[in-house]
Amino acid sequence: MIFALARKLKKKGVLAINKRNADFVLKYNPRRLYPLVDDKLLTKRLAQENGIGVPELYAVVEVEGQVRHLPDALEGHPDFVVKPAHGSGGEGILVIAGRMHDKFRKSDGLIINYDELNHHIFNILSGLYSLGGQPDRAIIEYRVEFDPIFEAISYLGVPDVRIIVFLGVPVMSMVRLPTRMSDGKANLHQGALGAGIDIANGKTLSAVWGNEIVSEHPDTGRSVNGVAIPHWDDLLGLAARCYDLTGLGYQGVDIVLDRNKGPLILELNARPGLNIQIANNSGLLPRLELVEQHHADLTSIGRRIEFAKNHFAAA
């Protein structure tokens, strides 16, 4: 029974944690490059230097005392996002959707005051959300206004597009849609919906919620299948460029589609999750192996994207 299941998964080429870590993350992602993606501030600067769009940085808080200057820094920004520079898995992200006088309205409608905002920042600084509990910095940045295309299939938060890029080739992709259960967050393990995207044409496929395959958004009831992601070719190009940017062979690129600014890189991930396979109803392994074989020929970004579109179209 167990072995039959394992055989079926193997036949489908499902990549699991041990193999991802041993054969891809450890092999293609040199440890020294991790800071580039683990520190979101560094990622942001790197992207900016290379002309890749990222959400605008409003302020950085490095020590507790700096929160005194926050009111000035936030002047003229009614909405913003607070996140830890070294956060992982969407932990510690606070989204402020609006403000009245000296109070802030969170994306879920709850009102907090400056003290509570500062407390959250202090938590971030002391390393509560960072990997390994290291002291951290808090980033305050532009809050993305997502593209209207997602309004019908998203609840509260900002949907983002995750593209797995292997050796510069986008191999698999999905859009992550926040739900009521995920509290507006776009992380699958927190209850967000993940819908696979056909690499060839940018249209959504089936979706996964938890470990189950679904076809409608649980909160809005709209079909999540067949939605065309706007600017798809730009997104692929952006993702492919991230390989040259960081040098990480195996990475997950998170992109948001802003209503006004177009695609923006939100963050990069050196150990992207594996549920994307469920969202695409397809295993990663055959695609990764194909890229490994043809890696030598795929020298330009154009070629890599063409290779991806030719080989990784949904059946």
């Binding site: 944690i17 509560l128 469920i278 109803n281």
Partner: protein
Amino acid sequence: MNKLHLYILVVVLAITGLGLFFYKAFFLNFPLAPRTTVQVWNVEARVSFVAEGNPVKASMFIPGNTRRYAIVDEHFISSGYGLVATTEETNRRVTWSIRKAAGKQNLYYQAVVRPVRAPAPKGEAESPELEVPKFKGPGEEAVKSLVEDIKAKSADTPTTVAELIKRLNNPNPDDNVRILLGPKPSLFRKVDQAARILRYAGIPVRVVQGVRLQPEKYDFSKKTPLLHWLEVYHNKQWVSFDPLRGKSPVPSDWLRWWQGSQSLVQLEGASKLNVVLSISPKLEEGVTAAVQRGEISKPLLLKFSLFSLPVNTQAVYRVMLLVPVGAFILVILRNIVGIRTFGTFMPVLIALSFRETGLLSGIVLFSLLTGIGLGIRFYLERLKLLVVPRMAAVLIVVVGLMAIFSIVMNTLGIHRGLSVALFPMVIMTMTIERMSILWEERGSSEALIAGAGSLVTAALAFLVMNIKHVEHLVFVFPELLLVLLAAILLLGRYSGYRLLDLHRFKALAKEQT
């Protein structure tokens, strides 16, 4: 290349570990199972006398190693006395001396006697010098005719000795014997005279004195009688003879103490000498005995073993060496099964504390402590404290809770509660902190799943670490850790599915069919 390197390393580690293990298990006879006990004896000699303010010198023979027995753990209890131990020819002797002593004095000698199996000596090279004793008056005639009589009825030395012993032990002795032994002879008298008669007959012989190692529990306050027997030089070997039955050799439970006709203790400067020997059997753990046996033949290997450490340090290592076993279980559960836990090694530490609390009460106590701690952590959250002070506050609460548990349970007469203090409190604090964050960030179910995962892992690790055989094996054969290391290195390259991956990706498998 990389993989080959790993495999070579694994094989080398495994072979080294297993090789040492088999060598120790089958050549040095380290016991494979716990609780193999070995019979040893506590031997005590108490020398008491009354001193009258003069210089006192007491010297006593003490036993030495023989082919059958090893003397270990010798202690001399003699406050105020100078102590000199000497070895003279075949005897060992201790001499106590003091410038001035008054009143009743007690001197003690204590030792442990362990059975050993030393190879038989290859025969004594030098032939002993024979000193022909002189008999006076009628004895001269008696011994002459007795020796002639015996020689006529025997073929060689052993039969001569046997015949003499038979004669001496005859309940109705002939005249010659009666003259030589005197009325109502003691056993010592018989043995001593037998030695003289044999020497007169030209046979090298010596008197050996010792005690019998009783197999049954013996009252320590009672006196163990001395035994005397003969050793006869025959075919370049000393052959022992039982002086009562004339048989050779003497029973194996006779412990040789000293040789010669002298008495056990010589005392100068004091009176009312009283010597009490007592022997008591006891069971000793097989490992210690094996080590002692090993010490006699292979001192080098054991100099670098855990057994060379003091006993209380050994106890620490008994526990410490179990940690790798727990870590191994943890690796299996995390990388093969896929269970999520709080902190990498937290479950192993919790499992260690289960050893003190017991499994069931350990789980109950752990859950209670975590539950209450979580409640307090959520309360502290509302005070909006900085992280480090907040964790310190939780730590204080955890310590306080442990103390309260112990006090309450002690009052109720449940002694398990006392050992709750052994939970690693810093780890508990971190667990509570991480659990509460997980609770807030990802909901109660995620937090409870990870909490339960930690507890299940800890319980399984405990169950394995608690197997007596496992504890015994890693302590007696620490080289098995190399094998464990090899296995963990191999697991480090396991890239197959975890058991819980199968559940996670089940939807993908269904679609296929």
